[in-house]
Symmetry: C2
Subunit: 206 residues, 2 copies
Amino acid sequence: MSKRGYHHGNLREALIDATLELIAEKGPFGFTLAEAAKLAGVSAAAPYRHFAGREEVIEAVALQGYELFADLLDYAWDDGKPSPLRALESVGRAYLAFARKHPGHYIAMFESGVSPGASPELSLAAERARQVLIRAAEALSARLPPGRRPPPSMFAAHIWALSHGIVELFARGKPGARAPFTADELLESGVGIYLRGLGLIGTDES
Amino acid sequence: MSKRGYHHGNLREALIDATLELIAEKGPFGFTLAEAAKLAGVSAAAPYRHFAGREEVIEAVALQGYELFADLLDYAWDDGKPSPLRALESVGRAYLAFARKHPGHYIAMFESGVSPGASPELSLAAERARQVLIRAAEALSARLPPGRRPPPSMFAAHIWALSHGIVELFARGKPGARAPFTADELLESGVGIYLRGLGLIGTDES
DNA sequence: TGTACATCAGTGAACGCGCGTTCACTGATGTAC
DNA sequence: TGTACATCAGTGAACGCGCGTTCACTGATGTAC
């Protein structure tokens, strides 16, 4: 950021940022390491001081993405305050906001072919994000009679899958391309119906 | 298939098949046109007699995929027989089966960066698939009191998003990688809860 | 049925290009004393 | 504070490779008469 002489000073981060930008613009396979290096203002050989290759840069982007994602979801959940229902709504909005505001991260995480098991840190970070959803599911389940509680990990998987599906199918490109609703409308209404199905919302509550 | 002399005879289809195989194995960007040509048993220059380039081959694969997808969903829906509820279950299973059995097609359709609007035929085929879901949603909605019916296109979007999210997050790789449930379990339970939320299944029905 | 010709659908060589990667190098920075 | 030295983080040239694409070509097929 500061001194730009012979030594970049912060090339690792700069390469991640450049990659982020290129992924968002051209997809996870639409550019080369050399291109990312040039965008970071450095020769094509420089990245090899910090990464073993292209793949490792994308993994670093995905890792950063999972960390940020977990933080944002956790912040939105806010320990289930003011109420688990409200907090879950907030998590849903945070999910879509993350996908919208950080497309490079989102794509690296879910569409780049990088498996969450690629490295220990990566699976740890991915698991941390998943745990936020599971905690939310547990808090909500606790309000159901014991016999009618779905396993929290299933509950969480449903919410995650719905959110992800909406991002992939309906949040890209022009609004209304594949359905005449915004992603936010779809997620809120979908989760609402789902929660009613679980008995967490009464028939006449909104 | 039959005579393999100087003229291949059916190169267009053979290239699509080769591409299908390569996509399933290495992802939509993990191979080159030359590779597909070789796999089809033909020189690297031959594809240009049939396609403008790599992108056009992938589009052809996606088109074929959407046609097949629409056919399979339509067949599974079977005009809502024996009952709309049963028929919808059948559509869900068909959706997952398609993704599982035709990964090359599925990936070309949803993960290759090809937009459904890329060509008129493509958007037509994609729309046909979507209409199957919408028809199902309409038939099911018809059983609800008019005041409580969601717009069919929203209903359809929810089901589609949930299905797609499950495929992307939970149907790849080893079972149990991201959640301790199979894709089929997740979809069936998720749709079940959703339909209950709509009032289409009573509290004690399975 | 045979022949001449047009068209079609391939080949194989060639090209320019840019990528990934390596390498010896060198300027900048940090540290011991 | 100054100097010598080690280490770090870059450069730029070089390479081999294979891709995408074009081109003149040619073998196979279809058709007119």
